[in-house]
Amino acid sequence: MKELKFPFKKTCLAAAILVAGLVPLANASDVKLSGFLSVGGGIVDDAKGVEYNGYTEEKLKFDHNLLGLQITGTVSDKITATAQFTARSETDYQLKAQWAYLTYQVTDDTKIRAGRLRTPFYLYSDFLDVGYAYNWISPPREVYYLPFNNMDGVDVYSTYSLGSFDASVQAYFGTFDDTYDFSGTLAPAFTRNQMGIAATIGKDWWNFRVAYHKADLTMDASKTPLSATSTFGSFAQVLTKFGFEKNANNFLIEADKADFKEIGFTADTGTFVSAIEHVEFNPGENFLAKNIREYAMVGVRHGEWLFNITAQKAKDELATPEAGIPAGVALPVVGSTNVLIGTLQAVAKTQPVNRDVLSIGARWDFTSGTALKLQLDDIDDDSAGKQKVLSVAVQTVF
């Protein structure tokens, strides 16, 4: 996954915003600096087994480290500029701009933001990297798996009081341009006409959320090798040559109508906490699987300790890019339509994830602003097998 590099090369808007944000640096009272830090690592039960969440070794390595810095500058009464940078151990602490945006406070309850923003896919999207803000070391992997979490665009965020309820609505329009790793080959990945809406309603101890997003999704895997002599692109040409143009289109990910739905609930009574989330990603007509993912967490707080149990489930649905090709029809060169059908099915079969993960975790707020977390994940994957991961992290905000 490629993010915006620092110094900025691509996004003039982001650069302009950063400059706008730096102008008031002369007046220190107008600039707020805050940060977050996570230092952690983990061990797997069997290094020969399936890798999970970046944990691969049987010996403890502190290789899941993250430093984040956020700068907010007040430009005027109504306008603030915000930039958030992160440095991760996984990418050799290279500094990256996650967010860079201008906020225009329209009224007390409505703001418009423009620039690089976090896409509001999930309950915890806004503070994905800020481990201190939630109870796990990282949010449940099966649901929080989407590789593209940011977008360039505009959004409107409004809050409302409805009697004793609090509600919010966030709507956005934007795009992302990134790269995606298809089995070792980097493929350009981007969206156009990406838009979405997320709404919440809650009271002091619970919150309910729904979200819907859609986009024209392209993940250009045409250069990804399919065999020693062919690529996804050349195979699509073969399909077209034999008159299966529709299947060629239903195979490649080219401006496909993708959508993403989310429904979530959180509760915190002080003693008991809970979070439940269900998501469905429909990638459109291509070889990608439809992702159906969910988790449920319950926890109990005692003093500065919080213990939780989380169950996650991935039950993806296989795509059928071969639909419509008649079986057993003789073809020149390849022999039979069965070869085409078999190839399409073989590619589609690499995509779905069917996995159950059961986790227990503890959070201990041992001093102000700092928490120590422990987590044990028990992974049962239908195709990749079983694994257990024990992870630990210290997470802080400042």
């Binding site: 707020k32 805050s34 977050f36 984040g68 956020q70 907010t72 603030t80 915000t82 958030q84 967010w99 945006y101 906020t103 007390d108 309850d109 703001k111 933001r113 976090r118 806004d126 503070f127 990297d129 800020v130 201190y132 803000a133 939630y134 965020y157 809050t159 009081s161 004793s164 609090d166 002091d204 002080g270 500065e304 707020d365 102000s368 602003g369 928490a371 905000v397």
Partner: protein, 143 residues
Amino acid sequence: MKMSKLYKLMIATAGVTLSLVSFADVAVIVHPTSSVATMTVEDVSRIFLGKSNNFPGGAQAIAINQDEGSATRVKFNDTVCKKSASQYKAYWSQLMFTGKGTPPKDVGNDAAVKALIAANPNMIGYVDASSVDASVKVVYKFP
């Protein structure tokens, strides 16, 4: 034997005194010219948790905190916001790293809060009730 009884009595007295101190009333205060006469605990909590930026009636409200570690702050967070110090911090870290909210500024002790409130018609803060004087107006009080 007598010494030990006296000693126990002294400890008990000290204990009572201490608990009296920590059970002193907390007063939520605003500027004396504010049109707000009284507030409910929900009104106060909504402003201090960033769910509302306005006083009942519509005037802009800017909340200010006592410094971390202050006994008054602990009690205020516990009773009004219904959060421990670390829960309060985690709650705000969900908002401050998203551009969706900024926590109330930590401005100091009773005297510092009172001085700021007395000078700013839009501010709302809380102090130990014993330090309230005519420079501020009490809109909510809890034991």
